[in-house]
Subunit: 442 residues, 2 copies
């Protein structure tokens, strides 16, 4: 058997501790599969005294991850520190500079510095692997980078954030408010104390940025992602979606269009019959459309120490076997520039929820605004049966604004915005309109 | 860029023609991803004159695939001939013997000779890749062999035959008989003129045998698979399943048990809420339970020239990148012997459909046989409301046997067989009992 592959792990949180357990439990089998032993030799973390439930006594301890990255004791630097800069960035750079392979779960770092780091790794002849950075235990990086190599990808999309999916699933199943579900997610450890990054879509955007580069052979461009989180989703939206045959999911979507590549993260109405609609709770799912393979969907745990450690181990195994693939699929200097497409014509139309003052002419105003913007309506739902109605048939002025839901036929983002601005300007709605894109999915 | 990787393709059916198109259309991008050109240089097929819709004039033609396999013009031999022996086997052996990498879509060949061929390939230092042999375009071989490397697998199961799934889906959706759906499948090209191999489960078994070896690091043992096809499934079974909250799927299941590894292919009742229940038509799906990653499910096209060519291209890309992994995950001489487990205790119980003579005491006889075998019943459904009933309350003897459906609680295969034998022996049923296993799935 060949010489051992020596690992140094920086960051001993949940994932780090799981990785230590994985190597203990399945290390012998892993060695058999890789043709050489894979051994953890050194670790680094902030607090040496903390009990992590795993025995660290056999490993060399480094207080400074950069020192670990440079150490002659390791062949692979496993970065599990997190963060787009600081010690994570410094130690990854140090590892590559000193000829170490890098395995990281750090989507924020790669979303910002991925192309540059990929280039540095290629020139140093080392791997930069990051399966764990996107969709936890799901092997989507390997699938895009290797399994889809013969395909031209038209679209990649998915549920990439377990926290948001957990919240939306509970809102739907139990009729609870966003705030209640978020609080539960925090209590259960599915959401951070500051959940902004998850619920506003930034985490999904970082992952999507990496998938976009892998799928389309372009440079990473996380700043060019249209971003909308789930904080404005109400139980009324979820109920209306259900009645209309949809579910609401936070999707990250990257799609090739005539004018460039569209990247967007937003709540999306997906048909209940679609595979993606059935992904509940903290699960993740990623779908890829290739010109030869058609659509492939991968489903699995999007987070959790053990699932993430499984992906880290996969990256390590590739290195142990000697498979050094370009980090972003193509060599970094052959990645094309990212060309941002405008928000495209959504084939599935739009869901619009308005809070309409119940007075004569209100509905005529709305209908006129839609017609002026060239928008055809597929359905109109007025929620409260007991309401006097919006038929403009001379009913008296009601006291409470009435929720009205419109589903449009295929139209453009610009047209919808124009119509909604006109409706707001004419004073017929009490609140800002809610607008959710409908996605046609297999 | 490194020197070109030269391919020779033997067998120019649907998959071969798709591969030629794939290389033409996406060859430049593939070269970028692999760091070297990938070029088709030579081909072999039975009929040189047949129009395959692709231009073959630029390639050296070999009448004999073995000659192609030995040719100095190629680095990789792509075997798309099919069959467990004959020219497919001879040419693959010749290719390995003359130091060529092999890519094949031939599950029958590997199910029979896989371990031996893997050993020959290892000793020759060449790859033996076969992503296309299992589940068409779904990257399940790569996922088990590489992505799951850090996991100990407890179970792998899936819908591995699109023909059977198409038939079962149409029977369910349209209430058509098995024979009608099979005829349609043949008309649409989803089933062969002789469909035995698909509908009796042999094709699923070949694929399962490969997954078992990959998942559990054991030798391939296709002869040790419990096998039951879908020919006995009636619309009555499908309707009953639907009412009870299940769908019927032909599953291949390989599972670690205390006594060894269980491999079985049979119609299975799966809860409608499970991911696998929602795989319709010619799609395939494979689920893997790993001790660290948890459950991962991969869904995609299980057949078709283009999807299969996508998997062939993935195998070629791995070779082009220089990634030579052991064919069966672990080196062939480290694969453990396959130990067959007895059919295990099915946690989800059994579905039993009986055609019961409508006479006093019939149901008491059935109930007694179940009790004698220690089987508890979860539910009893008597289909025809207009029937006099099986309540043994002194109703007169009916003319027509009545269908009765029993769902058992958890029990053993042996107990169910014992009970059914007793029921048959006591002459209370008109036909052989139908028995379908219920699988507990996530």
């Amino acid at each position: 058997m060949a010489s051992a592959l020596r690992l140094g792990v920086a960051g001993l949180g949940t994932v780090g501790a799981s990785l230590v357990r994985l190597l203990t439990k399945n290390g012998a089998a892993l060695a058999r599969k890789c043709g050489r032993p894979v051994v953890l030799t050194a670790v680094s973390a902030r607090d040496r005294t903390r009990d992590r439930g795993v025995d660290l006594s056999g490993f060399t301890w480094f207080d400074d991850p950069v020192e670990l990255a440079r150490s002659g004791e390791i062949d692979v630097f496993v970065e599990l520190i997190g963060g787009a800069s600081g010690p994570a960035e410094a130690s990854v750079r140090a590892a590559i500079a000193s000829g170490k392979h890098v395995v990281t779960a750090n989507k924020a770092l790669l979303a910002r510095h991925g192309v540059e780091l990929a280039g540095l790794a290629e020139r140093a002849g080392v791997s930069l692997n990051y399966e764990a950075a996107v969709a936890g235990g799901i092997p989507i990086v390997k699938t895009l980078r290797e399994a889809m190599a013969g395909n031209s990808v038209a679209r990649v999309y998915g549920i990439l954030n377990g926290t948001c999916n957990y919240i939306l699933t509970r809102m739907e199943r139990e009729g609870l408010s966003f705030a209640e579900c978020l609080a539960d997610a925090q209590r259960l450890g599915y959401a951070e104390a500051d959940p902004t990054f998850d619920i506003e879509g930034n985490d999904t955007a970082h992952k999507l940025a990496l998938l976009t580069s892998l799928a389309f052979g372009c440079k990473i461009s996380a700043d060019d992602i249209y971003l909308e989180g789930i904080t404005s989703i109400t139980t009324a939206d979820i109920r209306a979606a259900d009645e209309l045959g949809y579910r609401i999911k936070l999707l990250g979507v990257a799609q090739k269009t005539d004018s460039g590549i569209e990247q967007r993260v937003h709540p999306t109405m997906v048909p209940k019959s679609s595979a993606i609609a059935r992904i509940d709770g903290v699960l993740n799912a990623v779908a890829v459309d290739g010109d030869f393979v058609g659509e492939i969907v991968l489903v699995g745990p999007g987070a959790g120490g053990d699932a993430t450690a499984s992906s880290v181990a996969s990256d390590i195994a590739d290195i142990a076997r000697g498979d050094v693939a370009p980090a972003l699929g193509s060599p970094s200097d052959e990645l094309v520039d990212y060309t941002r497409a405008g928000m495209r014509r959504h084939e599935g139309g739009y869901y619009i929820r308005l809070s309409v003052f119940d007075r004569p002419g209100a509905f005529a105003t709305i209908a006129r605004a839609m017609a002026d913007a060239n928008i055809s309506l597929e359905s109109i739902v007025q929620r409260r049966a007991e309401a006097p109605g919006l038929s403009d048939r001379g009913a008296g002025e009601g006291t409470e604004p009435q929720p009205v839901i419109l589903i449009t036929y295929e139209t453009t983002e610009a047209a919808v915005k124009e119509a909604l601005e006109a409706i707001v300007a004419r004073g017929v709605v009490a609140d800002a309109p809610q607008m959710i894109r409908i996605e046609k999915l297999a």
